[in-house]
Point group: C2
Chain length 333, copies 2
DNA sequence: ATGAAAGCGCTAACAT
DNA sequence: ATGTTAGCGCTTTCAT
């Protein structure tokens, strides 16, 4: 492997000069600069990252903590974040964490081992030590799509968004509305909370059984959830609110298999507006999270924290938008 | 940040001893070992990765080169690979590369800067320097889902698989069959090749216009492709073969919008068997790639190359399987 | 079994 | 403008 010394030797100069050139510093004669650049190009020299990061005591990389089973919304989100981060000059290191204590522990250990410039959390870690460490180490952090007290956050008002989604169903005349959500993360509970609130405000008597909580927010679990609901309620409902689009997709599959038409017999609204929502048959009505804005704000906020400008601890709440497509319809009367 | 010296000082021992303990080496009295472990736990010490990787001259991480617009098949694939890699003790660094020269150049520079133990390519880089570098640097590499001469590869016989997919359509009585593929990567051309071969073997006269090549293998481009095909051929066809499931999803969307029923009017077969294929309405008939097997073999092959056991340069071809669901049907006559 | 010391590749402070 | 030097945190000889 060609090192800075090799370049220095070939150029008949010192490593310091080479370093200055490579890092675009001043105080180098343009003759030497050119010569060095030439040799760098010839040899394909690239500075060893480990060495740089050791002396600089930073890694120029930010970590993204994300569930190992990340869904499509999260997939789209982290792509956007990654792109912005790159434009700010950071590399990205992913920490895929499973939904168990051991995995979180491992993630924390790795986090310590890397001298990260900052971390973005798209996944709500349960282990409190995690947050404590980041606080103590004064590691710049921003939480995206959820909020943990004491850290800057970028997200949507989940409860209000859910309420509005349910209100859409209500405005269509639906009264027997069911919901599939998850209890794994705060957003699942918040979305369920919004659901209950909307019903309460419409004077629909509270029934715990209207919402089923499943373990993951995937299409597969959407099927499980829908089957459970069918068991509980029979066909005595005309609308369904799913806490994610993927849950909705699984639920619609079951509904179809049971011979219940969407939106003919049941109106369905999802949440997130993932890419395929618009291709489904029927096209899915869903509560859109402003993906690009959230991604941009997340990356930018972290960058600001790292560079020290505007270190204020802020919670950024973004507007959501109901996208009405074909999976919802006014209740026939 | 707590370093090895801090631990040594607190324990009243030398950094060398601490290093030995932390790395589980022999030749340390169990008294000292225990004491050190205790302090490590107390302080939450984790060795600095940059420093380790500098002296060891390796990073314990393998790079995964993947398109920045990775599709769902690739998403599922890299998750599996990542999991295996982790079980072998590697960290994973992702290189998201765009479909342009500049991005590939940047990727190569980063590749050089990291002292990677190996790299897995899920993306077919065009720049030949890329492969040259890996050869020269003697970097262990395995290409997954495609084959580049001179490197071990794990993949499926694309051409044969496509032929079989088309044969399924043929066996159902279809003769006017169209295809949407892409020309971006080898697999797209191979799948188109298989398509043409199957038709040729069924004595269907060759017509270049039967296949449209789009830029990306996404649902969005599936729509573009289908519209183009409709323009070219009108409704004069009864079946469609899409080079990926996502392409199929977009195409079906357009077909539906045009009032053409799947599979009533048009039978559709996709490729990959991504997760949602089974949830679509109709459930998608598709050519399944053995995701888990490919992922496992990829990770294992790289691990073997790195550790030197079985360094033989092999091409591993895995069996595919046609999954017949609801989007294909015998031609009514 | 343990410690002292060298060195991995780089940058920055300090000379010159 | 340029070179010399020290040192980042770690592992690994080489002594003892």
């Amino acid at each position: 492997m060609v090192s800075i010394k090799d370049i220095a030797k070939r150029a008949g100069m010192s490593p310091a000069t080479v370093s200055r050139v490579v890092n675009g510093k001043k105080h180098v004669s343009s003759a030497k600069r050119e010569r060095i650049l030439e040799i760098v190009k010839e040899t394909g020299y690239v500075p060893n990252k480990a060495a740089r990061s050791m002396v600089l005591r930073r890694s120029f990389t930010v970590g993204i903590v994300i569930p190992d089973t990340f869904n499509m919304f999260q997939r789209q989100l982290f792509s956007i974040i990654e792109r912005y981060l790159e434009s700010f000059g950071y590399h990205t290191l992913f920490f895929f964490v499973k939904f168990d204590d051991q995995s979180e522990e491992m993630c924390l250990a790795r986090l310590k081992a890397e001298k990260l410039d900052g971390v973005i959390m798209i996944h709500e870690i349960k282990n409190i030590n995690f947050y404590n460490y980041m606080k103590e180490a004064e590691l710049p952090v921003v939480t995206s799509t959820f909020h943990f007290p004491g850290f800057p956050a970028v997200h949507v008002n989940e409860e209000q968004a859910s309420k509005d989604a349910v209100n859409h169903l209500l405005s269509l005349g639906h009264r027997r509305i069911l919901m599939i959500s998850g209890d794994g993360f705060t957003f699942g509970r918040q979305r369920a909370e919004g659901f209950f609130q909307a019903l309460a405000e419409a004077d629909i008597p509270w029934e715990e059984n209207r919402v089923v909580f499943v373990r993951h927010y995937t299409a597969e679990f959407g099927m499980y959830g829908m089957r459970e609901l069918l068991l509980r309620e029979g066909r005595n409902f005309t609308a369904l609110f799913a806490a994610t689009d993927e849950l909705a997709i699984g639920a619609i599959r079951v509904l179809n298999d049971e011979g219940m038409k969407v939106p003919g017999d049941v109106s369905v609204v999802g949440f997130d507006d993932i890419d395929i929502a618009q291709y489904m048959a029927p096209r899915l009505t869903t509560m859109r999270q402003p993906l690009s804005e959230i991604g941009e704000a997340t990356a930018l906020t972290l960058h600001r924290k790292i560079t020290g400008e505007n270190g204020s601890m802020v919670e950024q709440i973004f507007p959501y938008k109901l996208i009405i497509r074909e999976s919802t319809r006014a209740l026939a009367r």
